[in-house]
Symmetry: C2
Subunit: 200 residues, 2 copies
């Protein structure tokens, strides 16, 4: 009986508690937000004793770090996929990257908040590598065909990043429901600045 799980055709059918803990943490983050995300709740959701997570994560900050890594990878994947699906037009490509960024944030508000807004002491940075760097590089790639209007070298990236980042978090925070506004949920394409192709 006890070997039943190993009799399955898939070798991965043996219980992977670590993966289950991460899935449960993502679910709690999504449903209840960061403040409800504790080791004990994660363990309870998986159906395991509250002491079990200690065998997989040094502590809550390490678990949160792992979640951030997953989040940045997934965000990067979405941005890359959007870019790839957009074809060759540079403007369409950048637009797709921006829309992917915002869409990911809107679909994963708890996770994106953890990734960007959680205090340094709460998240063990060592638990995820350069995952954030990858997303930034993709954004930079999307911006590359366009000349910055004026001065600084990476001012266009800064502009675009600020724009979509702010848009995403204002959207998540429900700020576009502001009673003074007409447009409840603007389109990204209506909000991007004019972009001129690099001439050289």
């Amino acid at each position: 009986m006890t070997v039943s799980s190993r009799d399955q055709t898939s070798p991965g059918a043996a219980r992977d508690v670590r993966a289950e803990l991460i899935d449960a943490a993502l679910a709690i983050l999504h449903e209840d937000g960061l403040e409800k995300l504790t080791l004990r709740r994660v363990a309870a959701r998986v159906g395991v004793s509250h002491a079990a997570p200690a065998h997989h994560f040094r502590g809550l900050p390490h678990l949160l770090g792992a979640l951030c890594g997953i989040g940045f990878e997934a965000l990067s994947d979405e941005m890359e996929a959007g870019m790839a699906a957009a074809g060759d037009n540079p403007r369409e490509r950048l637009l797709a990257v921006c829309e992917a960024y915002v869409a990911y944030a809107e679909a994963n508000p708890g996770l994106i908040s953890l990734m960007f807004n959680a205090g340094k002491e709460r998240v063990e940075k060592a638990a995820f590598g350069g995952s954030g760097q990858r997303a930034y590089t993709i954004l930079r790639e999307g911006c590359a065909p366009f000349a910055p209007a004026g001065a600084e070298a990476d001012s266009l990236e800064t502009q675009i990043w600020s724009l979509i980042h702010g848009f995403a978090f204002l959207s998540i925070g429900g700020r576009f429901d502001n009673p003074g506004r007409i447009t409840k949920r603007p389109e990204i394409r209506d909000v991007l600045p004019p972009l001129t192709l690099r001439t050289s």
Copy 2:
């Protein structure tokens, strides 16, 4: 002896514990962040028993609501002051509003995070009125002289708000220290989109 405080020339010299509690809460928010902001710590900082705050706030969410109200008023004041100091040039006026927004956020990272990123359950909305509305109206006023490049009625406000909001939170989060970047802390003026005056 017990009347000594009332013998002072200033009538406000009598202890105002409620105000002290709010000041202490702001200080904790600034120094340690939202996660460390509890009623007991606030009381301890003021030097009062931990049961005292209950006489002034129904609970932590009401205290946080009061802080948000103060924050939005202060943000609005800064935006208005910046605009007033900028003179008559519409572009300079809008730039000043934007710079005030970002500067306030950078100077008060804990408070601005509470105002925009804290969950609805944590902050009692009833504890502050339309303070957020005022800031939005000022931003709208700064945008008014400019024609939206294309379509939607409030797309320019959305664009500017997203841009400065994202810029502010990326700055607070230390994202401009990203190793892939050249410019560590860009200027707002280098990052604003081109603005064309409304013709009609």
